[in-house]
């Protein structure tokens, strides 16, 4: 029985590099399987958030259940799981992949394989997924399908001879993709009578139903009324609803069986109880062991987020709490800064994650934010033998108490056309990179591997890479561990007063250049004031750079007569608005932009 039912199911995801057409292909599949008419469809249905759609990236996993009537006359259930496509979310990706038996690999016929494609393919191979290559954008004049096929065979070792040549945008050859999903991807297996084992691959918070947990049932079955147990967090809940996904919504059902993809709701208040990768089983008939590979993901990048208007502190807290309901990897705790007042130290999986959260806070919650330079986690061994974990430069112990400093190192893989190798090597060296490997993918493309301190890539590495390779290089990175390193805290003094929010931790060899650059940037960003303002960069007591914002000598409107009053009043109001956007740091007024300007030192 299970065999026949499961034979008609295909659980798969689509993996691709940004812009290679993943979401567009997903849209076409939705169209062809008849769940949506073209008119009902908003472009790229699976990417839900504005930010996802704008950036062409997927942040949250999405799933949809489709029915496809195949050429063999049978109806098949397709569970299409859209995975995040960014290195920041590698763990989530791997769990989405683990919910599938197969993956459709989309490669752009004009671009070929990219670093991210490879990274995701390797993740899929690790999960033992059957991979179905598809070559997209074949209608473009610069398409080189045969070349790309060969590349897929040479680089990944997949047989790409039968790969469908498609144009997702123009709906060319989509049927052959659907047919190959049926013929080439394996159906799920799993004993539906065994104790329940369901993999959580995502979840989101719904204010009516509580957390909606995205699951793939590996073994057994789950239905309304079951008491379930989260095997890693040990939390128990009563299932209130189970069902399937339709585009943009849920369809409640009776039960989910081994091999199926769907959701459960169990009046769960917070996504922290429904961690991605955890296994759900039944409390009264538990599985003997959880599915492998669960880990709690830890943030790698930290920054301070402050409301521009101090009165909005509570609003910021509320917004962060709401975002956290849907994003267990976002962490935050209150902190205060002399310069910025009350705010939060927030931890993110990576830079993209940080940018997305900041953007959502500003857009969806209409908050005006000041953020501090991102930091990583450093381990500092003190002379007393105590090891401190530092994610905020302010907490760096004084130099005299430091025995040893360690910083996180990432393995960075960069795929690039060969002509840019020199530029990239220069960049990597400038970022304290240690060369590890260089391999030719084909005659013209190269994969470079470096070990680089994470703190060198969290600012603007990606932008720098793009600008040095005219946008051609692609990047992937993973944390490989900690290394001892000569780190110092670089402080900024304005008018001889320390501005805590501007402190950063840097490698000693780079401190001078960075100090000079920050001082220069601040000089541009801080408007002249009534008194001269010295800007000093220092390490401990030692001043390594100095700039001066000259005092203004004149700020007066020479004329103000009857016809001028309204206009002059407006000018003064504007001037006052500008003042409002300033932070009083000691005796100096610092515009919010100044705090951000130190983030962009390369530009």
């Amino acid at each position: 029985m299970a065999g026949e039912r499961q034979n008609r199911i295909r659980n798969f995801c689509i993996i691709a590099h940004i812009d290679h057409g993943k979401s567009t292909l997903a849209d076409r599949i939705l169209e062809k399987t008849g769940v949506l008419t073209e008119r009902e469809m908003e472009e790229q249905v699976l990417d839900n958030m504005d930010i996802e759609r704008e950036r062409g990236i997927t942040i949250k996993a999405q799933a949809v259940r489709l029915v496809y009537k195949a050429g063999d006359g049978n109806e098949y259930i397709f569970n299409l799981i859209d995975t995040p496509g960014h290195v920041d979310f590698n763990y989530e990706v791997s769990k989405s992949l683990a919910a599938c038996e197969g993956a459709v690999l989309v490669v752009d016929a004009t671009q070929g394989i990219e670093a991210q494609t490879l990274a995701n393919v390797y993740l899929a191979i690790e999960q033992n997924l059957e991979i179905l290559p598809v070559i997209n954008k074949i209608d473009l004049p610069s398409a080189r399908p045969d070349y790309v096929k060969k590349e897929i065979e040479d680089v990944i070792g997949l047989d790409a001879q039968d790969a469908p040549l498609i144009s997702a945008k123009n709906g060319i050859n989509i049927e052959s993709v659907l047919e190959q999903i049926v013929s080439k991807l394996p159906p799920p297996s799993g004993d539906e009578e065994a104790p329940l084992k369901a993999l959580i691959f995502d979840s989101f918070y719904d204010s009516y139903k509580g957390v909606i947990v995205y699951i793939r049932v590996k073994e057994g079955r789950v239905r309304v009324g079951d008491r379930i147990l989260m095997m890693n967090t040990k939390k128990e809940f009563d299932v209130t609803e189970v069902g399937y996904f339709k585009p943009g919504g849920l369809i409640p059902g009776n039960e989910l069986l081994a091999g199926e993809v769907g959701y459960i709701a169990a009046a769960i208040k917070n996504v922290k109880y429904t961690r991605v990768g955890d296994t759900i089983t039944l409390a009264d008939n538990p599985a003997s062991e959880a599915l492998p590979g669960y880990k709690k993901v830890n943030p790698m990048v930290f920054c301070g987020i402050y409301p521009a208007d101090g009165a909005k502190y509570q609003d910021l807290r509320d917004a962060l709490e709401k975002l956290q309901l849907n994003d267990a990897s976002l962490v935050f705790e209150p902190e205060s800064s002399v310069a910025l007042g009350f705010g939060f130290r927030c931890g993110f999986l990576g830079l993209l994650h940080m940018e997305v959260i900041q953007e959502r806070l500003e857009r969806e919650y209409d908050l005006d934010l000041v953020t501090t330079a991102p930091s990583v986690i450093y381990y500092i061994t003190k002379t007393s033998g105590e090891v401190v974990r530092v994610d905020n430069p302010v907490n760096m112990p004084p130099t005299t108490e430091i025995l040893k400093t360690e910083e996180p190192i990432v393995k960075v893989s960069i795929m690039t056309p060969a002509e840019f190798i020199g530029n990239i090597m220069e960049l990597a060296q400038d970022r304290r990179g240690v060369f590890k490997d260089m391999s030719y993918i084909d005659e013209s493309r190269v994969m470079l591997t470096y070990e680089i301190p994470l703190n060198e890539i969290i600012y603007d590495f990606f932008d720098a890479l793009k600008s040095r390779t005219r946008g051609y290089a692609s990047l992937d990175y993973e944390l490989i561990g900690y290394k001892e390193s000569d780190l110092v805290k670089l402080d900024i003094l304005l008018n001889s007063e320390l501005v805590d929010a501007l402190s950063i931790i840097v490698h000693k060899d780079k401190a001078y250049a960075k100090g000079r650059r920050i001082a220069e940037k601040l000089k541009e960003a801080i408007p002249r004031q009534q008194f001269e303002i010295p800007i000093q960069a220092c390490i401990g007591q030692k001043i390594i750079a100095r700039e001066t914002v000259k005092a203004y000598r004149k700020d007066v409107l020479a004329k103000c007569y009857g016809g001028d009053i309204t206009r002059k009043k407006k000018l003064l109001e504007k001037q006052k608005e500008g003042k409002k956007r300033m932070r009083q740091v000691g005796s100096v007024e610092v515009p919010q932009e100044a705090f951000m300007s130190v983030l962009k030192l390369d530009t």
Partner: protein
């Protein structure tokens, strides 16, 4: 608190003449060269507007009249005479009213000046700007220093015993020596009033373009302030009273019309682009002369409201205008006008500005310090 506006019986009347011979490079006023053919119609529209307002403001008395521009002295004596006659006929005008006309050398001559004086003008304001012909040329003036001297003497001969001279400093290419000699020459003529304006480069003017193309033309703030401090010192020495940020006068010759603005009192403006503050409301007129003429002729009004000035707004204006005066603000007068103690409202701000060295209290008045004069906007924003 008392009512927001200060209803005065006496008001100032401003008459705008939006015509000139040539636009100076720094000018962003509502003024148009080459529109002389509109002048007769424009004068008629002015007269109509004056008549209409006079009907509405029967209980107001006019204590000052100021004909400004543009270059009002582009008008002949007969036009000015007929215009003033309409004002005298329709409004009640104080016997000792101060009646000013703005003028520029290059548009004046002896007979015109005599005609103005006979028509009732008793105060003449002459735009000299600078004594150096090269500087005059570089800012687009159409006259020389010599033209000015001739006109000044003609004005005295015509009977003008209250003359203002407008000067500018901080001009591109102007040296401290230029400025010092300009002042010396002007002082030797003994005008009753001198206005000295620091050049403000207004967006979109030819001067703005010039400076954008060559930033070295903009004179440094330090020099601008040296020039300002110099004029404050020199004119005091010569017996002039520094009574407003940019204005100096022999005792008793302070501009009564302009004092109305700085005391936040009422005034009526007529003509294209003029502004009024009457009965607690600010309003402005259509700027384009031809549109102004059309609207007056069709609807009897060319005005649009710039908002009701409630008590709080009035207080703000009182502060930012009153502090322009060197004597500053009298807390006593403030309380009389608004029914609230100024320190109750602004005590903290006043203290803070005092500690920053921008404000001081002297003879029970609150006024700008020497530094405050250079940084007046820093003070004003605190009261906006």
């Amino acid at each position: 608190m008392k009512e927001g506006f200060f209803v005065s019986h006496e008001i100032g009347l401003y008459v705008h003449i939006p015509f000139c011979k040539a636009k100076c490079y720094y000018c962003d006023f509502n003024s148009y060269p080459g529109l002389d053919s509109l002048i007769p119609e424009y004068i008629n529209a002015l007269k109509t507007e004056i008549e209409i307002y006079a009907g509405k403001l029967k209980d107001k008395k006019i204590s000052t009249i100021y004909i400004g521009g543009g270059t009002p002295s582009i008008l002949d004596g007969a036009s000015i005479d007929s215009l003033l006659k309409v004002i005298f006929r329709n409004f009640s005008v104080c016997k000792d009213a101060e009646i000013t006309i703005e003028s520029n050398p290059g548009t004046l001559d002896s007979s015109k000046l005599h005609a103005y004086h006979s028509a009732g003008i008793n105060r003449l304001s002459i735009g000299l700007q600078s004594w150096q012909d090269r500087l005059l040329k570089s800012i687009g003036r159409i006259h020389t220093a010599n033209d000015f001297i001739v006109n000044f003497n003609e004005a005295r001969n015509a009977g003008f015993m209250n003359i203002n001279i407008d000067l500018m400093f901080g001009l591109p290419g102007q040296t401290m020596e230029d400025w010092m000699s300009t002042l010396q020459n002007v002082i030797s003529l003994k005008p009753e009033h001198i206005s000295c304006y620091s050049l403000k480069v207004e967006e979109g003017t030819p001067m703005d373009k010039l400076i954008q193309e060559d930033e070295s033309l903009a004179i440094p703030e330090e020099l601008d302030r040296m020039m300002y401090h110099h004029v404050v010192r020199e004119l005091k020495k010569s017996g002039y009273r520094h009574y407003e940020i940019s204005n100096f006068a022999l005792s008793g010759f302070e501009s009564r019309h302009n004092m109305i603005y700085w005391n936040a009192c009422e005034y009526l403006g007529v003509g294209a682009g003029s502004h009024s503050y009457i009965l607690g409301e600010r309003f402005g007129n259509e700027e384009s002369p031809s549109e102004y003429i059309n609207k007056i002729n069709l609807k009897g009004s060319a005005s649009y409201s710039e908002g009701i000035i409630d008590t709080m707004e009035s207080i703000k204006e009182y502060m930012i205008l009153g502090l322009r005066l060197i004597d500053g603000i009298s807390p006593e007068h403030f309380e009389k006008r608004y029914g609230i103690n100024i320190y109750e409202l602004y005590g903290e701000k006043i203290e803070e500005l005092k500690s920053r060295g921008l404000l001081k209290t002297e003879d029970n008045r609150i006024c700008l310090t020497e530094t405050g004069l250079d940084l007046a906007n820093q003070v004003f924003v605190e009261f906006i």
